[in-house]
């Protein structure tokens, strides 16, 4: 049995799917943020796997992942800050309650 590229992509895709599912179904904003982390993480896996399997010798995918982690960290920090900001106003983190602006 060989470990091929596609085999590594399967968990990545599933992780992404889980992220999407979580984003769409969770009510807790922090849980949604966690789902987003899953999605970002799956992207990272993609890059790494492509790089390692298809284009060894140059490390663009690897570096992308490296920076993506940094970006993800920044995003998470900001997002959590905003969640807490909202929490201060409405005293919970239920995403269904932030729909005053619509239509």
């Amino acid at each position: 049995m060989n470990l091929t590229l596609l085999m590594y992509l399967i968990p990545s895709i599933i992780m992404f799917g889980c992220g999407v599912y979580g984003f769409l179904t969770r009510k807790n904003m922090i849980a949604i943020m966690i789902s987003l982390e899953l999605m970002l993480n799956s992207v990272d896996i993609n890059f790494v796997v492509f790089n390692r399997f298809l284009f060894p010798g140059q490390f663009e995918g690897m570096f992308f992942t490296l920076f993506a982690i940094a970006i993800a960290a920044a995003e998470t920090a900001l997002a959590l800050a905003i969640i807490i900001n909202v929490f201060r106003a409405i005293k919970n983190v239920d995403i269904n309650q932030i729909n005053k602006l619509k239509f």
Binding site: V43, F67, L101
Partner: protein, 486 residues
């Protein structure tokens, strides 16, 4: 190590210098002189804007990761002008009691996001592009949450940040696919590696379009727009609606043309076609019934984004020039509108259309400026909006296929709908009467200066043909920028 390459990016470096000075002022100057910070920043930025007009060397840097061309140079200057107006209009607002504590941060974030946009414009590498995109978009969430008084501001920030991160995840997924196909993230190399359509490429391009389309608020990636525009402070909304959009539009063109130019007619022409039709129509339909002016302008800006995209689908230097011109005109027009809204909101807190009833009787100049803005947005001559619309249609039609003519026709029909709602504003101000109309507002001189610049822009940019000619000349030298259609 060749650090002299940083000299290839004078505008970015200059911007960071401005940022640094503002940061130092904010941090170290005594409390009593903090009131001067907005003015200090604005003047500093004005100086920078003027200096940035001096053309420096053009070319690639960092191994073709970063490219400075006449077009990027012009585009950045256009954005600088817009940001200058935004800053000017925000001076009074940031000195308000509720905001003044955070005024330094406002300017710092504006400057940093602008830096991100510059990176987007100039980057020729997806990594740099993503970083630029994130720099340009994440702090906006913080800006959106700026008005702590209002719950809407917080909600806007939350909506923005979640959708933005989701969008960037999708975008990066798309890039990962591109990487898988091409093995590189350099636009030039991608263009060489990717020449024929395949499912993976199509999905990848769709995701890339979705990612940038989010910034541009193209339908169906637009839904955050209205809520965020409405909730965010007006100064931020105006910044978001013109500067961010303009930069994204240019970057979008660069990506699609530079990285995916060879699959223009195979893949993304039709995607963009559908998106343009949807964007213009949906934006208009939603805008029709809005009463809140900021929300109204949000939808209007969605539909305007559709028009801007006509310059991309044109796939030509003419289209590119027209697009830049459109953005320039759009900056003046929209900033004029937001400027008026900001003044009135600051003075009275009123933002709905009904509050503007009878505005002309009490505040003729504000009403006049607003009317010019609406006419310009609606494409009424002799204001600049007419010229920009006409040229962007010309640019698109230049492509020549019947389908494009149909697209232009759809866009034109939508112009009528858009005119309808722009006229609603005019109607409220001029025709409707109201006994409790907004009283006379003594606006600050900075606001007046900002509005005056906008009005002059609205009137002059169209009539003075030199501007368009200059843009056209700038892009004409970039014919090689557009790879042959595969």
């Amino acid at each position: 190590m060749d650090y002299s390459q940083f000299l290839m990016m004078p505008q970015e470096i200059g911007l960071l210098l401005v940022f640094l000075l503002v940061f130092l002022y904010d941090t170290f100057m005594p409390q009593r002189s903090q009131r001067m910070l907005p003015l200090f920043t604005t003047i500093l930025f004005a100086i920078y804007t003027v200096l940035a007009f001096i053309p420096m060397g053009f070319g690639e840097a960092f191994g073709a990761m970063f490219e400075s061309t006449p077009a990027t140079w012009v585009m950045k200057n256009v954005l600088n002008v817009g940001v200058f107006i935004v800053l000017l209009q925000a001076v009074k607002w940031t000195n308000d009691d509720f905001v003044s504590v955070r005024r330094g941060e406002f300017y710092e974030l504006i400057l940093l996001t602008l830096f991100g946009m510059f990176l987007m414009i100039s980057s020729r590498h997806f990594l740099l592009f993503v970083i630029g995109l994130e720099t340009a978009s994440l702090p906006i969430a913080a800006l959106a949450a700026f008005e702590k008084r209002y719950y809407e501001s917080r909600e806007a920030a939350a909506k923005y940040v979640f959708t933005a991160i989701f969008s960037s995840a999708i975008f990066m997924l798309g890039i990962s696919f591109v990487y898988g196909l091409a093995g590189t993230l350099y636009f030039n190399d991608i263009a060489m590696a990717v020449t024929t359509a395949n499912p993976l490429l199509i999905v990848a391009v769709a995701f890339v379009i979705a990612g940038v389309g989010y910034k541009l608020s193209l339908v169906p990636f637009h839904q955050w727009t209205a809520d965020v525009y409405q909730g965010a402070p007006t100064a931020v909304t105006s910044y978001l609606s013109v500067i961010s959009k303009g930069a994204a539009a240019f970057a979008f063109l660069v990506i699609l043309v530079q990285a995916f130019g060879s699959i223009y007619s195979q893949v993304w022409e039709w995607m963009l076609y559908a998106i343009i039709v949807l964007t213009i129509t949906i934006g208009n339909l939603f805008a029709m019934r809005q009463r809140n002016l900021k929300r109204f302008l949000a939808y209007s800006s969605i539909s305007q984004a559709g028009y801007i995209m006509l310059g991309v689908i044109a796939y030509s230097t003419v289209g590119m020039a027209s697009m830049m011109y459109y953005v320039l005109v759009y900056i003046f027009s929209n900033l004029a509108a937001f400027g008026v809204i900001a003044v009135i909101e600051r003075a009275t807190g009123k933002v709905t259309m009904d509050d503007y009833n009878g505005l002309f009787r009490t505040n003729p100049w504000l009403a006049f400026t607003m009317m010019l803005a609406m006419f310009s947005l609606g494409g009424i001559p002799p204001f600049a909006g007419f010229f920009s619309k006409f040229f962007i249609f010309m640019g698109a039609a230049n492509q020549g296929t019947v389908a494009i003519y149909v697209l232009v026709f759809i866009a034109l029909v939508n112009t009528i709908i858009s005119l309808y709602y722009y006229l609603l504003v005019v109607k409220a101000m001029f025709i409707r009467q109201d006994d409790c109309a907004v009283p006379y507002i003594d606006s600050h001189w900075t606001e007046e200066l900002g509005l005056t610049i906008c009005v002059m822009g609205i009137i002059a940019v169209g009539l003075a043909s030199g501007i368009y000619a200059f843009l056209n000349q700038t892009t004409a030298s970039m014919a090689s920028f557009f790879p042959a259609i595969g």
